[in-house]
Symmetry: C2
Subunit: 268 residues, 2 copies
């Protein structure tokens, strides 16, 4: 698993505080840690998304500190922690990527390689950086817009389209995806993606080997529902749904919309 990027997403039915404590990162604090290749995070607020990108390790701790102290309430969060060097490390190449479609911010984070993806035609959405991922995002969004110049009244066709486009990209290699249109959180799995739905009261979840603690606080009403999606199970003692190859899931208001496959037993 070493050398892979970590994806982390959240869908909730109410704006939820999510505090990221990059404790290990902040202790190491240098250019030698595993996160030297940057990370990024997007918090939705309505139809807009607030993003923080950190291509440089030396700066990590400042932004991590901000996010730790700054109570950002959001219903949808998408984060990407880069662990391997493929492509130049710079802001332009740092996930998540954002584009506007239908007057909504769309946010995309991907893990995996896609051979020949740059041969896919992009339309009006053009990559700013040089990554395969951003090219895939632009291609995907152009196809969504061609089929739906306006947001569809009912989303089922959109769901099928995003699943089909994800399948086409997955045929080029590895395509673990987190995507949002500001209302839904979409997840597509090739190799590593799992999720867990929690209800209040929320505790802490420790990302097993990435020194990231996700802390859900404040929102503790009995009706709160929060789903966390991650590259690997974050906790050893909860029943994570481990997604299978080519599995696609949609989260709305913290809940999965599609029937769920087998639940992984809690690890002993």
């Amino acid at each position: 698993m070493r050398g892979m990027c970590e994806l982390l997403g959240m869908s909730a039915n109410v704006p939820t505080d999510i505090c990221f404590s990059f404790t290990g990162l902040m202790q190491r604090g240098g250019r030698t840690g595993p996160h030297r290749d940057g990370w990024g995070i997007g918090f939705y607020e309505g139809r807009a998304v607030r993003t923080f990108h950190d291509p440089q390790a030396s700066a990590d701790s400042e932004i991590a500190r901000l996010i730790h102290r700054y109570p950002i309430k959001s219903r949808i969060v998408i984060s990407h922690i880069r662990r391997a060097t493929h492509g130049r490390v710079c802001l332009e190449n740092t996930h998540p990527f954002v584009r506007e479609l239908w007057g909504r911010a769309w946010t995309f984070a991907h893990n995996g390689k896609l051979a020949g993806v740059k041969r896919l035609p992009v339309g009006a959405f053009r990559p700013i950086g040089t990554t395969d991922s951003e090219h895939a995002f632009c291609w995907m969004l152009e196809n969504v817009r061609r089929q739906y110049p306006r947001p569809p009244a009912r989303p089922e066709g959109l769901f099928r389209l995003i699943e089909a486009l994800s399948g086409q990209l997955a045929a080029l290699g590895t395509f673990n995806l987190l995507l949002s249109d500001s209302r839904f959180l979409f997840a597509y799995c090739t190799t590593n993606l799992c999720w867990l739905t929690r209800r209040a009261p929320f505790g802490k979840a420790r990302l097993l080997d990435a020194e990231v603690i996700v802390d859900f606080e404040r929102e503790t009403t009995p009706d709160d529902v929060v789903t966390v999606v991650a590259t690997r199970p974050l906790t050893p003692d909860e029943p994570w749904h481990v997604m299978s190859r080519a599995e696609f899931q949609i989260f709305d208001d913290g809940r999965p919309l599609r029937p769920t496959a087998a639940v992984m037993e809690p690890m002993p």
Copy 2:
């Protein structure tokens, strides 16, 4: 001047540290100060832009602290400090606004009112929030894309187009603009915009009544050139170029491209 928004921009020939010390803001720190309506800032890094938006006063100090401590080097900066309440205060309505065109991030900040601007047709670029300003930006960018589906080899026609579009918007009311395509910084003035070109070594500039100190540090080679654009002169003792109504200026590598009008005498 009270109740207006402040625009602040920078164009430089080398990536320049720009430290914003929101000292007055951080001392007041509450919802009672003049900045309670939010502010935003975008720092270009290559063709991408790093933005920070703060719609809420209570959060201001955290992001202001980050920007103060975090040495962001940039060749182009655009900032907007909102001082008046028109439109709901939320992330979606907080300048600067960003869209991608030609694989470059375009950033837009505006001050003024534009009567009936929402009757102008927008194409593929749609507003995410409800402000007149974002609508104007979407209309402007759609017109740029229609005329230039690809970036022009020579920029003179683009300059004329942006000036003409700015003039059409200004006919609807007040249009003080800062805009960038990641290479150039464009400024259009209806009522209040001025600029000053400085060369190394740089000192401090105090924004006269906004408790904002702009501090240019580190970059002190003799070849450095930095232009600052602001709603009003930032300093009492330097020769600011006060732009006149309908004046348009383009900054490239820290220098104005168009012949400059009369220079305001330093204030006594």
